[in-house]
């Protein structure tokens, strides 16, 4: 029952780049990203679709890459933590996490940031409570969330400011 079915051809935009890929149908998106593309910033912290460490964006919305087949991303755009900012130029949300000490061991951090960016981009104006509820799909064991909430609120402001700046240019 586990004989390898033939691989499927996939066309996925990964972090802005057009990728032509092949994977068997039973490949989870998170495994395609981690094993085939070497994008190991997306982590696996559970097997029940609860912890959110594998959160990526699919067409701009946060989804759990452990509950999505790679083939379901065919024809769509996937953004991972590696695609939102770099060491040279952190995304405002990444910068806010650093500034607020919103990470310790770092394992949940990529998923947390991907969830936070979606929350800011698609959520209502955020309050402390709204951020806490909006992060319901992400578990952190280190920080007690205090600084994460602070960072998301700060990141929200920074993202708005960055948008304004861009709008002005």
């Amino acid at each position: 029952m586990d004989e390898e079915r033939s691989s499927m051809k996939l066309h996925i935009t990964v972090n802005g780049a057009d990728r032509r890929l092949e994977a068997p149908p039973n490949t989870l998106l998170v495994d395609l990203l981690r094993r085939q593309l070497g994008l190991t910033g997306t982590h696996v912290g559970c097997d029940t679709c609860q912890c959110g460490a594998c959160t990526v964006h699919l067409d701009g919305r946060a989804v759990k890459a452990c509950a999505l087949l790679a083939v379901q991303a065919d024809g769509h755009a996937v953004t991972t933590i590696e695609g939102v900012g770099s060491a040279q130029q952190l995304h405002p949300m990444q910068e806010a996490f650093r500034d607020c000490h919103a990470l310790q061991c770092g394992f949940c951090t990529p998923g947390m940031i991907m969830a936070a960016i979606d929350l800011v981009e698609h959520g209502v104006p955020l309050s402390n409570r709204a951020v806490r509820e909006g992060l319901e799909g992400n578990i952190c064991r280190c920080t007690g969330y205090h600084n994460i909430v602070k960072a998301v609120l700060q990141g929200q402001k920074a993202m708005a400011a960055a948008d304004d700046k861009q709008g002005a240019v």
């Binding site: 029952m1 586990d2 004989e3 390898e4 079915r5 499927m8 068997p24 149908p25 039973n26 989870l28 097997d47 029940t48 679709c49 609860q50 959110g52 959160t55 699919l58 919305r61 946060a62 989804v63 759990k64 452990c66 509950a67 999505l68 087949l69 083939v71 379901q72 969830a115 979606d118 929350l119 698609h122 909006g134 319901e136 799909g137 992400n138």
Partner: protein, 264 residues
Amino acid sequence: MHSFDYHKPSTLAEAAALHQGAEDAAYLSGGQTLLPTMNQRLAAPSDLIDLAGIGELAGIATASGQVCIGACTRHAEVAASDAVRGALPTLASLAGQIGDPQVRNRGAIGGSLANSDPAADYPAAVLALNAVIHTDRREIAGDDYFLGLFETALEPGEIITRIDFAVPARAAYQKFPNPASRFAVAGVLVADYSGDVRVGVTGAGPCAFRALAFEAALAESLDPRALEGADIEGVIFNSDLHASAEYRAHLVRVMAQRAVAQLL
């Protein structure tokens, strides 16, 4: 995960034919339950039929007292839809309480109802909002849909296409979430159709059910206090680590009272 053949049909007929021709097929909608289950190797369908390519399963429409949701509509879309928020805000609010944001961005109403998890949120809406479930074969009245634990009126291979909810005068949904999984330990939707009150309960029994005793009491007097003496009969309440049957029964009453208070 075990191997399977993947199909992405573009019509319902094609999907049904694929299902019929396969040894042990499963439809893939949002996949938020099915894929983790397969990943844990607790299910191994021979074929997965992805419904995402079937155009007619998408979309939200409102018409003459109805809100119609295509089966592949994601929870987040229902929660954010201006049409739903305008016509039936309780349904949008309920959709916004399912799972967590990432799950809502993937999970779809048709898949949720086909799976019929005893602790899912939508079933309460199907019953209380007098929904009609449209399939590729027929229409099923919401009241006839839930049959037992994970058991629905759907026949093998039957595909939910659309769910039509009847817009009440007012409604409210109150949920007591499982602190670990965020599924409903008890979820109660109370809808007032100008005197005719419907109460849908999820999370509490083997499948969603209407609390007829509550409905009768509320028809007499639409007041939270009216529920104090009303007892749900004929339901074996679920009992698990998170809530005994007795506590669940209590929570159902409290959630119902809160829903009534909210809609007043």
